[in-house]
């Protein structure tokens, strides 16, 4: 196995441990690698230009009178 592949696999294993995903099979580790790529692609397309005062759609209200 090439050094880059070993490094990538070790990085993915570290990532899985950090996420608490310690029970994934080797096949599911491959799913995790694909999931990271999918999320990266999705988030690259998410618009991020907002005014400072643009609040989220769901803003917490402490009561109906708030």
């Amino acid at each position: 196995m090439r050094t880059d592949d070993v490094r990538a696999r070790e990085e993915l294993e570290r990532c899985a441990r950090r996420l608490g995903l310690v029970n994934l099979t080797p096949g599911q580790m491959e799913e995790l690698r694909q999931a990271e790529a999918y999320a990266r692609d999705l988030l690259a397309r998410l618009p991020r230009e907002f005014a400072l005062t643009d609040e989220p759609a769901h803003t917490f209200r402490a009561s109906d009178d708030a």
């Binding site: 694909q34 999320a39 999705l42 998410l46 643009d54």
Partner: protein, 466 residues
């Protein structure tokens, strides 16, 4: 009328016969079970048949009606529940190994309301696992098949609900819709599917997919039936934090009002520019728009944000919230998920808090943009699915067509969205369109759908199941 006609009664027709004591709810239930007993081995729409419950509830309805009590149009009406909706004492499995033994001790609010209306539960219906993964062939139950051609996909995730209603196993079933899961299967199975306004129908006792987008809605064969079911299940529920405390109209009241003078915005760029729809889908929608214009609606083109903006907003929210729901099980029991759901959940692990906040800021902008766009219109129409149903075992085609849809914009916006059939492909598979209203304006959505439906005969056709 013969016994063979009973499975094809609409709720409105059956209610009239039951009220006049020309149809026994018990015989009605028996006729529907006779059909599903014969055919469901080909469709797999049911996860669990609740025969004892259905017979008990039908007998009770029959006795009440004989005694002069009338609970309304759902009295004695058989129905199904997507198997993420609780019925006390009956397992709610979410079509998943993880919840095979999950038996709720309390009814979902929508179940309680259907009981109060006099309904008879025929069974719990198959779904994509936890209303997201699928179609999956590695779960304890197989995926449902499309009654119009069993080689084809039903759409999801309310797939069993759609297959059963389209097959004539029941006149109505409940589904859930977070990114299109009532409307997708309704579109692919030739049904009427309603995603009500977020907050219109309680989700208490319904397993969550994404809290800020989840809705519950009916799948039926006609617009009127959809309105009748919504009448029964809608209404404020203090146990659901998102439930809206608003006045509930009679959703059938305006059905006959017609569309003359109604300002209809056609969101054409969704299915011609943002995604190029299949030619047969395109023709179905454009013909339907022509029908509305012929009926007197003022039809004009309408611009919303591009579909991919809605899609990135919707997916970021769904993946973040769904991962929060499933994180513990993914850590402890990842192999108990089907591969499809696990693969759809795992990207949520890589979405940061700041990404999620940006998505819900974007959501607010999209809501405001829609409000502005609707100032010139009473209603909007557009595509639902961009393609006819794919073959269920053609994984590549299922994956290709899955995101080619215009449903998630209206989960993001939150208002009501109805799909209904607008024809069939040359090979006999259903085509659909989508009618969208301002938040809490279900009456105008139903009124438009009803006017179109009355001018066409699509809802009277039956799938070639035998």
């Amino acid at each position: 009328m013969t016994a063979a006609d009973l499975p094809w009664l609409t709720i409105a027709e059956a209610a009239s016969l039951i009220r006049d004591r020309e149809l026994s709810p018990v015989e009605y239930v028996e006729a529907l079970y006779a059909r599903s007993d014969r055919l469901d081995a080909r469709l797999h729409s049911y996860i669990r048949v609740t025969r004892d419950i259905a017979m008990r509830e039908a007998k009770r309805a029959e006795a009440e009606i004989a005694g002069g009590t009338n609970r309304g149009p759902l009295h004695g009406m058989p129905y199904g529940l997507k198997d993420i909706v609780d019925y006390a004492g009956v397992p709610t499995t979410a079509h998943s190994r993880l919840l095979q033994d999950n038996v709720p001790d309390r009814d979902a609010t929508v179940t309680a309301r259907l009981k109060e209306a006099g309904g008879a539960l025929l069974g719990k219906m198959a779904t994509h696992e936890f209303a997201l993964g699928g179609p999956s062939f590695d779960l304890p139950w197989p995926p449902p098949r499309n009654p119009w051609n069993t080689d084809y996909f039903t759409g999801g995730s309310s797939s069993g609900s759609a297959a059963a209603v389209a097959a004539g196993f029941m006149p109505a079933a409940l589904g859930s819709d977070t990114g299109g899961s009532v409307r997708g299967p309704a579109s692919l199975c030739g049904l009427v599917g309603m995603k009500p306004t977020y907050g219109r129908v309680s989700r208490t006792g319904v397993l969550p997919l994404a809290y800020s987008l989840d809705t519950v809605g009916p799948l039926t064969r006609t617009v009127e039936d959809s309105a009748l079911v919504l009448n029964a299940i809608a209404g404020h529920d203090p146990r659901d934090i998102a439930s809206a405390d608003v006045t509930q109209p009679d959703f059938t009241a305006d059905l006959q009002a017609g569309v003359r003078g109604l300002r209809v915005g056609v969101v054409r760029h969704f299915y011609t520019r943002d995604i190029e729809a299949d030619p047969e889908v395109l023709r179905g929608i454009e013909d339907a728009v022509d029908v509305l214009a012929r009926l007197g609606a003022h039809v004009q083109e309408m611009q919303l944000q591009p579909l991919d903006v809605y899609a990135s907003c919707s997916r970021t929210i769904i993946m973040s919230e769904a991962y929060a729901v499933h994180e513990k099980w993914l850590q402890e029991r990842p192999s108990d998920y089907g591969a499809s759901l696990r693969q759809r959940l795992l990207p949520g692990a890589f979405i940061r808090a700041v990404d999620y906040v940006h998505a819900i800021r974007l959501r607010r902008q999209l809501v405001q943009h829609f409000d502005d766009a609707m100032r010139d219109f009473d209603i909007a129409v557009t595509a639902s699915s961009m393609d006819p149903p794919p073959r269920i075992e053609d994984t590549d085609e299922v994956e290709r067509t899955y995101p080619r849809q215009a449903r998630n914009p209206f989960n993001v916006i939150g208002g009501p969205a109805l799909v209904l059939p607008v024809g069939f492909t040359e090979s006999g598979l259903p085509l659909s369109m989508q009618i969208v209203g301002r938040p809490f304006d279900e009456p105008t959505v139903y009124r438009t759908g009803y006017a179109y439906e009355r001018e066409t005969d699509w809802t009277t056709r039956r799938p070639p199941l035998g």
